[in-house]
């Protein structure tokens, strides 16, 4: 039977929401406090969901230690304690958590070969969260 395994990682980072396509007034009107030129930060909680049939030899969809190693190698050094605006990923797009969800989905799906990556979910604060599954609808599961 297929199972979906979700692993949660946490990191803190800063960002400023500001679009060069908008005037300063429009930026303030659109992003409000998030447009503060000095930026602000969040404790992000990232959930990575992978799926598959558990391997009969190991009982696992993918080895958690390997998934954690991937995150330690590819996710944490780039994103933890970073200013998201300074990253290559956000040179041409605003570092909203919508866009961060897409970036992290592609990071895991394109580079982590351990299992099928289904979805990224990010809690920016305990009051809001974002999910991205490669553009497909989230199934009514």
């Amino acid at each position: 039977m297929k199972a979906h395994l979700t692993r949660r990682y946490k990191f803190s980072a800063s960002h400023r929401l500001h679009s060069p396509a908008l005037s300063d007034e429009q930026n303030r009107a659109t992003y409000g406090k998030c447009n503060n030129p000095y930026g602000h930060g969040h404790n992000y909680k990232v959930e990575v969901t992978v799926s598959g049939e558990p391997d009969p030899e190991t009982g696992m969809i993918c080895n958690l230690a390997d998934l954690d190693s991937f995150a330690e190698r590819e996710l944490m050094p780039r994103f933890a304690f970073s200013n998201l605006n300074k990253l290559d990923s956000f040179r041409n797009q605003v570092p909203t958590t919508e866009n961060l969800s897409r970036e992290l989905f592609h990071l895991f799906r394109d580079h982590c070969r351990l299992a099928k990556v289904e979805k990224i979910r990010i809690e920016e604060t305990m009051m809001n969260s974002f999910e991205y599954a490669g553009g497909r609808e989230l199934r009514a599961e």
Binding site: M1, K2, A3, H4, L5, T6, R7, R8, Y9, T49, P54, E57, T58, G59, M60, I61, N63, L64, A65, E141
Partner: protein, 136 residues
């Protein structure tokens, strides 16, 4: 269609070991979880059922019945047990969170007084959980 979720907790111990692998391979694949003396978790189980709301009762399913079935089929069986040593199916199957969630699905499916089981979500820790939706 309305989805109803009931939560329950149980504590159990386990370890990961495949007798077909050498001790070195077991250590490499399973790491700390290979400790033969076992270790334990406080598991949190979320069972979601789906159905239409009954016009008379306003229920998808009577929560008391769901709670009783979860207790009888899952909690009473697994709580404060050593999964490898005391649960028959894990004598020759590794009690990973994946396999345990599937096992719980199989223990509940078809026993919910006609209500459809939609999802079993099993948290091993706050940072790790598995979802099972049955066979598609």
């Amino acid at each position: 269609m309305v989805y109803l979720t009931r939560k329950a907790e149980f504590s159990a111990s386990h370890y990961y070991h495949n007798p077909k692998l050498s001790p070195e391979e077991n250590q490499r694949v399973f790491g700390k979880c290979n400790n033969p003396h076992g270790h334990g978790h406080n598991y949190t189980l979320e069972v979601t059922v789906a159905g239409d709301v009954d016009a008379r009762s306003g229920f998808v399913m009577d929560l008391k019945q769901l709670k009783d079935i979860m207790n009888r089929e899952v909690i009473d069986v697994l709580d404060h047990r050593h999964l490898n040593k005391e649960i028959a199916e894990f004598r020759d199957k590794i009690p990973t969170t994946e396999n345990l969630a599937i096992s719980i699905w199989n223990r509940l499916a078809g026993k919910l007084n006609g209500t459809r089981l939609h999802r079993v979500r099993l948290y091993e820790t706050d940072d790790l959980f598995v979802d099972v939706y049955g066979e598609k």
